[in-house]
Amino acid sequence: MTLRAVGAITAVLLALLVSAAPAGAQDQPITWWALGDSYSSGEGISGTERPSGGKPECARASGHNTGAKAWAVLARETLAEPRISSWAFTPCTGAISSDVEGQMNEAAAASAHASADIVTLSMGGNDILFGDVVRSCIDLEVSWSSISPGCNVGEATLRRRIEMLVGATPAEEGQYTGITLPTLYDDIAARVRSGGAVVVLGYPQIIEEVSRWDGWRRNVIANCEGVQSYDVGMLRSVAGYLNEQIAFAVQAADRRWSPKGIRFYWRDIASGVYETGDDPAQRHALCTEDPWLNGTSVGVTSGDWRYQRSFHPMQVGHRATGTWLSNWMRTDIGLDQMARPQELTSPSWDQLKNAAIPEMCTHPPTTLVDGKDVSLTPFQGYFELLRTLPNGQPGLVQGVPSDAGPLTAVVVSCNAGGVGWPDQVMFFKGQGEYHAHIDLYEGVDWEAAGMYAPGRNGIEGVWVRGAELEVYTTAELYNDMACCPSSAALLRMRAEGDGVRITSLEEDIGD
C-alpha cells in the first residue's frame, strides 16, 4: 500500500467520522402548521382532494396522492429543510377566522404536536364575504325577472367590513360574522412556541387594471371573465385595502408578541409574486398575457370544474408563491433557533447569581449576592440582575451562541443614584463566570437608526434567534421626554470573542 493510498483511506475515514458526528443530531424537530382559507388550500388547482369529514366545499392541494400542491406544500418542499419534520396542512376553502381554532386542533392531531414553530396562513377574505361579492359581480341570477347588474356591494360597505375584520369598527350583524384578526392572531400565538414565527400572506389582485387590458377587451367588450370594467377598479381598491389592513394587523401582532419571542410576518403576494412590476411579463392577474389565476371556466373540459376554483390561483401561481416564500424563509425566520435543543449548557441563575463582575454603571468591581450589588448605599444607586422583567417576561436567556460556548444573557438594571438608567445586558459563561456586557445607551448608535436612545429600564423582552440575541426595548425619539419613550426598537447582537457586537437596530414597525 502506498503512502498516497493510506492517505486516501485516512481521508475517507475522517470524512465518515465527520459525517457521523452529532452536528445537528440534537436538533429539535420543527413543526409547521399550514392553515388558512382557499387561497392557502390551493382551491384553484385541479386535482385537489377533499378531506374526509370536512365541509363539502373544503378542498386541499396537499400533494397527497395528487400533483396538486398549494404554496405552503411547495415552500416546504423547496426549503428541503430536514429539521421541519413535523407538518400539518389543514386550510380549507370557505374558511373564516373563527374556523382557525378547528384547523389548529386538526393540525395538532396531524402533526402530533400541541404547538407549532411555524404557522402560515391567509385569512380574512371570506370574513368580509369577498367571494360572494365577486360572484355577484358576474351576475349569476337564476331568473331574468329580478336582475341587478354588476357587483351588489359597494366599496364603502366592503371597506367597513374590512374595518370590522381588523377590529377598528364593531361588527355589524349581517355584515361580518368572524372574529377579529387581532383575536385570531393572539389565538394562534398562544399555540406557537417561543422562537417561532407566524407568517401571514395577503391576497393577489384577481383582475388586471382595465388600462392594461388588450385593446379589444378594453374598448370593445369592457369585460373580464364576466366582471364589467366599471367594477374592476372597486375590486382592486378593496383588495388593496384588505391587504393593507391585514398588514397593519400583522405588524401590531408582532409588536404584542415579539417580547415573548414569537414573531409575526406579513408577506404581500400581490406585489411580491403576482404583480412585481409594470412589464406585462411581471403581471399575472386575470386578463393579462399570462394569468396565474383561474377565470370561471377552469376544469370544465377536464371534468374537474367547481365554481369555487374561479378567481383562485392555479398551480403556476402557487408554485411561484411557494418558491418566493421559501427563499425568504430560509434566511429570515430563524430556523436554527427553532431547531435548537432544549437542553442548555450555559450557566443557570443559581450558577451566576453570585458572580464576580467588573466595574459597571460607575460602580466598582464587586461580587454579586443573589444577583445584586449589596455593597452600594442608597446614595450610590443600585445594581441588579433581572431574572424576570417588570412585565413578567424572562430577563434571563440561556443558550446564547458564541465562539466561547453557550452563554447566558441577563438584563441589568442599575443607576448611580437618581432615576434608572437604560438597561444593559450582561453575558455569563461556563459555570457562571462573567463574559461580557453591553450598555444599550453608550454601546449602540441610535442616531443612525433615526432614534435618540433606549427607554429607561425599557427592555421588554430578550430571546435567542439563530446565532443572535434579540432585545426588544422601548425607545426614545428626538422629541420625546426622557420619561416617556414613544417608540420601540428591536436590537440584534452577537457575542464574539470577548465582546458583544450589535448587528442591527431598527425601530419596531412590525415586519
Partner: protein, 187 residues
C-alpha cells in the same frame, strides 16, 4: 359531421345580416375610442356577410382545435348562446334606448335561451378566449339591458357603471360574430 354545424351557424348569421350592419352603425357612432387603434370606430367595416369590429391582427390567433371544438359546441349543447346573442343584437341594432316592445321581446327571447346563471354555465366550455369573453360581455350587457327595462327608465342604463349597455351589447355581440366567422374560415 361538420357540414350541418357550419350550415346552422351560417344560416343564423345570414338571418342576422341586417342586425350586424346595424351594429356597425352603432359601433361607429357610439363606441369609445382607444389609444391603440383598436377602437371599433376606426376599424369597423361592413360586408354583406361579416362585420369587423376589431382588426383581426389585434386579436389572439385562432387555434384550429379550439375553433373546431367551439363551433361544434355552439352547434350542439351551446346553441342557446346563439339565441342570447341574437336577442342582444336585435335589441341593440338601432343603437337607441329600448322601448317597451323591445324590452318585452328581449325578455322573452332571453328567458327562452336560459337564465343568466344557465347561460354563464353554457359559456364556460368555450375554449377560444375571444369567443368566451365576447359571450360573457354579451351576457353582461343582456343583464344590464333587462335591468334597464325593469327599472322603468329606458333611457338611463341601470347599471352601477358608466357603460352604456346598448352600445356594449352591440359591440360584444358583433365581436362574437366576427370571431365565429374567423374560426369558420380557419383563422
Amino acid at each position: 359531421m361538420n357540414p350541418p354545424r357550419v350550415s346552422v351557424l351560417r344560416g343564423r348569421r345570414v338571418a342576422l345580416q341586417v342586425a350586424s350592419m346595424g351594429t356597425v352603425l352603432m359601433v361607429a357612432l357610439g363606441a369609445c375610442s382607444g389609444d391603440d387603434g383598436s377602437a371599433p370606430s376606426s376599424t369597423s367595416t361592413a360586408s354583406s356577410t361579416t362585420t369587423t369590429i376589431v382588426d383581426p391582427a389585434e386579436l389572439p390567433d385562432v387555434d384550429a382545435a379550439a375553433a373546431n371544438a367551439d363551433l361544434e359546441y355552439l352547434d350542439g349543447g351551446g346553441a342557446a348562446l346563439l339565441s342570447m346573442v341574437d336577442a342582444v343584437e336585435r335589441a341593440t341594432v338601432s343603437g337607441a334606448a329600448l322601448d317597451d316592445a323591445a324590452c318585452t321581446s328581449l325578455f322573452d327571447q332571453l328567458t327562452a335561451a336560459g337564465s343568466p346563471e344557465e347561460l354563464a354555465a353554457l359559456i364556460r366550455p368555450i375554449v377560444d378566449e375571444v369567443s368566451r369573453s365576447s359571450l360573457e360581455a354579451t351576457r353582461s350587457a343582456a343583464v344590464s339591458l333587462v335591468a334597464t327595462c325593469q327599472s322603468g327608465d329606458v333611457h338611463t342604463p341601470a347599471s352601477s357603471g358608466p357603460e352604456d349597455a346598448v352600445a356594449q351589447g352591440g359591440r360584444a355581440a358583433g365581436l362574437f360574430r366576427q370571431r365565429v366567422s374567423q374560426m369558420e374560415e380557419g383563422g
